[in-house]
Amino acid sequence: MTRNWESEERLEVWDLLLREETPARSVLEHLAGAARGQSSDEERLSTAMLVAVAALLGNARRAARRNLMALLRYRFSQLGAKSRPHGLDPRELANPDMLGLMGLHLTWPEAMLSVGGNPADYTALSRTEKAVRAEFLTQWGRIYGTTPPDSLTHGR
């Protein structure tokens, strides 16, 4: 594998989003511009998804934003081998950024607890996923002027 600067830059932006910071618009546009010239669907998907989540976090109301943060924490905590401190209290995550989340393998209720949400609210998961998907399709069309290929949206 060779170095992939777009991927590294996307990961840095993901980390910003996890820290609830707003990435510079120019960085997102730069990534989108680079992705337009990409032939790899996975590269295009990764950029469109990042832009979509950034847009949602920028525009969503408080509860929706909280649920989306729970989804991001849930997803990024699954990265890497499981490694979590004994007696972890999800409500008191020391560093809920990418480094702090990787390997924690949070459950959805734990992810919701970590953002102060209702841990039993599984409908929040499906609602948020639907919102992410809709925004992803919007951003894909805006960036690439097409619809995503079936190979992506119909599964791997």
Binding site: E21, L45, S46, M49, R75, G80, D97, K130, L152, G155
Partner: protein, 253 residues
């Protein structure tokens, strides 16, 4: 549209997994950077760059996990060293439940009587303090090898005896110890201190109980309580010696 298509979670998962596939890196963060990030001493942007690297470099991720475990273990050791034993917890761990409950009830009874006889309050406090000192200071300040089942049994018997003395004091059937019989020792004075949360104190040259009481508690009249509190650990015949560690109450909040 099938279920898979309707699952946007898989799209997010695909995006994240694509970006976090392991890659070869020519440059790796040094130990100082890893420690800085683990110690929360790294600026956010730099931390994001490091996150991006660790997410795709399994070797560095392994080092990171190892360092994090090491630091966590060290922190636990430090926490245990600085933790001051809570007297009631230590006593509760050493006493049968029923005896502790009775002892605590006796303590609360005299503390909750601010309008009562201050002499009685001071005397009762001293008797309870002796019990506490016998039960706690001995195992705390002496080598743990002496904590045997027999020793605990002896301590329990002593505390039961002291509890009977408290009850006798309440009934007026025994006299108040002369050393405590000071009109200056009142409930208000006693309440200034938390007698359940003790702190260590190293005796300085030429100090005695009275001077320690005056300098550390602000009231020389409380010296008998200090003596009783430390009675089991300090030989009264030999007095205090410089460098000896004794325990004092903390200021009540």
């Amino acid at each position: 549209m099938n279920d898979r298509q309707a699952d946007p979670h898989s799209l997010l998962e695909q995006a994240v997994q694509h970006d976090t596939q392991p890659r070869e890196h020519t440059v790796h963060p040094d130990l100082a950077r890893l420690f800085a990030a683990l110690s929360d001493e790294m600026p956010g942007e730099e931390r994001s760059v490091l996150s991006a690297h660790l997410a795709t470099c399994s070797d560095c991720r392994e080092r990171w996990d190892g360092l994090a475990t090491l630091l966590s273990d060290e922190q636990q050791v430090l926490d245990q060293r600085v933790r001051t034993a809570s007297l009631d917890v230590v006593v509760r761990n050493r006493m049968p439940e029923t005896l502790w409950g009775r002892l605590r009830t006796s303590w609360k009874t005299f503390v909750a009587a601010p309008t009562g006889n201050p002499m009685f309050a001071a005397a009762a406090a001293s008797v309870v303090a002796v019990g506490i000192a016998l039960a706690v200071a001995l195992p705390l300040l002496q080598p743990p090898v002496r904590t045997t089942a027999d020793q605990v049994g002896v301590l329990v018997a002593r505390v039961e005896h002291l509890q009977r003395q408290v009850e006798s004091l309440a009934q007026g059937s025994i006299s108040i110890p002369a050393g405590i019989a000071s009109s200056q020792v009142t409930h208000e004075v006693l309440a200034r201190f938390d007698w359940q949360s003790l702190r260590p104190y190293v005796v300085r040259p030429l100090e005695d109980w009275e001077t320690i009481s005056e300098t550390e508690l602000g009231d020389a009249a409380l010296w008998p309580l200090l003596w009783l509190l430390n009675g089991a650990a300090v030989d009264p015949d030999n007095g205090l010696t410089s460098g000896k560690t004794v325990v004092l109450p903390t200021r009540a909040e």
